[in-house]
């Protein structure tokens, strides 16, 4: 078990962060929901970056022959981060409009107000 912990602890961290993100997604507060979404996202990013790591590998900037970490997860996550913030900003704009319309960021209260 200790052996597994020492080789997989970055994955375990990512799993815990993703689980916490999922938990936060259930929050009734819409802003908290967006934060939960970011938490979940970054947990998944950590899985990818961890998978690309190679023991003794250098960052993927070629200087000479040698061992490098895999650059492909980096490329995928680099663009995912930028798309992620665009998505979060759009979500926040929607939250702002909802607050201006219903005077609350509580998901249940907004649903009640819509049903009335």
């Amino acid at each position: 078990m200790t052996g597994f912990l020492t080789t997989h602890y970055a994955y375990i961290t990512a799993a815990i962060v993703v689980s916490l993100g999922l938990y936060t997604l259930f929050d009734r507060n819409l802003i908290k929901k967006v934060i939960g979404l970011k938490l979940l996202q970054t947990g998944i990013f950590l899985i990818f970056i961890t998978a690309g790591y190679r023991t003794g590998g250098a960052p993927p900037v070629i200087t000479s022959d040698g061992v490098y970490v895999s650059p492909l997860p980096h490329v995928l996550i680099l663009t995912a981060i930028v798309v992620g913030i665009s998505m979060a900003a759009l979500a926040l704009a929607l939250v702002l409009v909802l607050y201006n319309t219903y005077g609350t960021v509580n998901e249940e209260k907004i649903r009640e107000a819509i049903n009335e």
């Binding site: 961290t13 999922l22 970054t42 590998g57 981060i81 665009s86 704009a93 702002l96």
Partner: protein, 344 residues
């Protein structure tokens, strides 16, 4: 990845900050906790030899995103009343079910850093082996991003632009269009707090040019070291946001030229699209730079695409910030009705 004291400290900090983010009821406190989490996460990525991703996460996750959250919270509420504080059982159930599923998957994954893991397979070898080193692009991440996966990168920039337009459209339903976002039509909301602090303005006056220059350096030097257009664009956007913090948001709106911001945003993505289509005219694929019959086409093509990404991302970052910060009271609407309402 071996167990070093530094790695253990970073992982522990990440877990503490993530738990705080999930548990704090005050959304402002949760945002600050998330910002700390992002910063430590980017440090862990440096340790995992992913400097490009770490740079992006530090600039975007810990920097720009925090600013956008705080801007939104300043106009809504920190604590929502009438929310149950008790444990949410469905959430706990989903979390436990996912955790169990993930634990089952975890045991089958190869150890972190294994040389024979599938991620280190032929694709990684191909990218690392046939990089664009002869064209002066030694950073493989940038080579893959703007060369091998150029069309995907273009799609990514389109998504960023679409999100910016989407945010404007959503707010536009409330009468806040791009004119309102980027032009001062409102009474200065910072006047109540008096003039900006002389310490802050002096420091920002000295620092901002270097922040903007650093953004350009990151953009152009991304071919040889960690960096690139996405990070550089966010850093240049941050320079403008810094000005807004120091000198007042309405003053920054006043100073920004709406047409210039729009032109930079649209110009960046248009340049990438034209270069991509240009290489197709010469019989190559989308963004296959060497098809263009010019000396060092790949070198200059990549630099141009980086600049294009930087311009669009910087423009959208500025737009997001000014769209989400408080708009202040509209005094011009009052003035136009007094004048007879002719200033449409």
């Amino acid at each position: 990845m071996s167990v070093t004291p530094l790695a253990v400290a970073l992982v522990m900090s990440i877990l503490v900050a993530a738990v705080l983010t999930a548990m704090l009821r005050d959304v402002l406190a949760a945002t600050i906790a998330f910002s700390a989490y992002s910063l430590v996460l980017s440090l862990l990525w440096v340790l995992l030899r992913a400097p490009d991703v770490a740079l992006t996460e530090a600039a975007v996750g810990a920097g720009l995103l925090t600013v956008l959250f705080v801007a939104t919270i300043s106009q809504t509420t920190r604590r929502e009343t009438g929310l149950a504080v008790a444990v949410r059982w469905p959430a706990l159930f989903v979390m436990t079910a996912f955790g169990a599923l993930f634990a089952r998957t975890l045991v089958t994954l190869p150890p972190v850093g294994a040389a024979d893991s599938p991620v280190q397979g032929h694709l990684a070898e191909f990218y690392l082996g046939t990089g664009l080193t002869e064209a002066g692009i030694t950073n493989v991440v940038i080579a893959v991003l703007v060369f091998y996966r150029g069309f995907e990168m273009f799609g990514e920039v389109v998504v960023v632009l679409a999100a910016g337009i989407g945010a404007l459209l959503v707010l536009g339903r409330q009468g806040i269009g791009i004119e309102q976002v980027l032009t001062r039509r409102f009474e200065r909301i910072d006047e109540s707090t008096g003039d900006p602090s002389i310490v802050a303005t002096t420091a920002i006056r000295a620092v901002t040019p270097f922040v903007a220059l650093f953004g350009l350096y990151i953009t152009f030097y991304g071919t040889k070291a960690a960096g690139g257009g996405f990070q550089g664009g966010v850093i240049i956007g941050a320079a403008v946001i810094l000005l807004a913090f120091g000198f007042g948001i309405e003053r920054a709106r006043d100073w920004l030229n709406r047409s210039a911001v729009t032109a930079i945003t649209i110009g960046g993505i248009t340049a990438i699209a034209l270069l991509g289509l240009g290489s197709q005219v010469f019989g190559g694929q989308f963004l296959e730079y060497e098809a263009i019959p010019l000396p060092s086409a790949t070198f200059y093509g990549v630099k141009l695409v980086e600049l294009g990404i930087c311009a669009t991302v910087a423009g959208i970052a500025i737009l997001f910030f000014f769209a989400l910060v408080p708009q202040g009271k509209d005094t011009t609407a009052k003035a136009t009705t007094e004048d007879g309402g002719e200033c449409q």
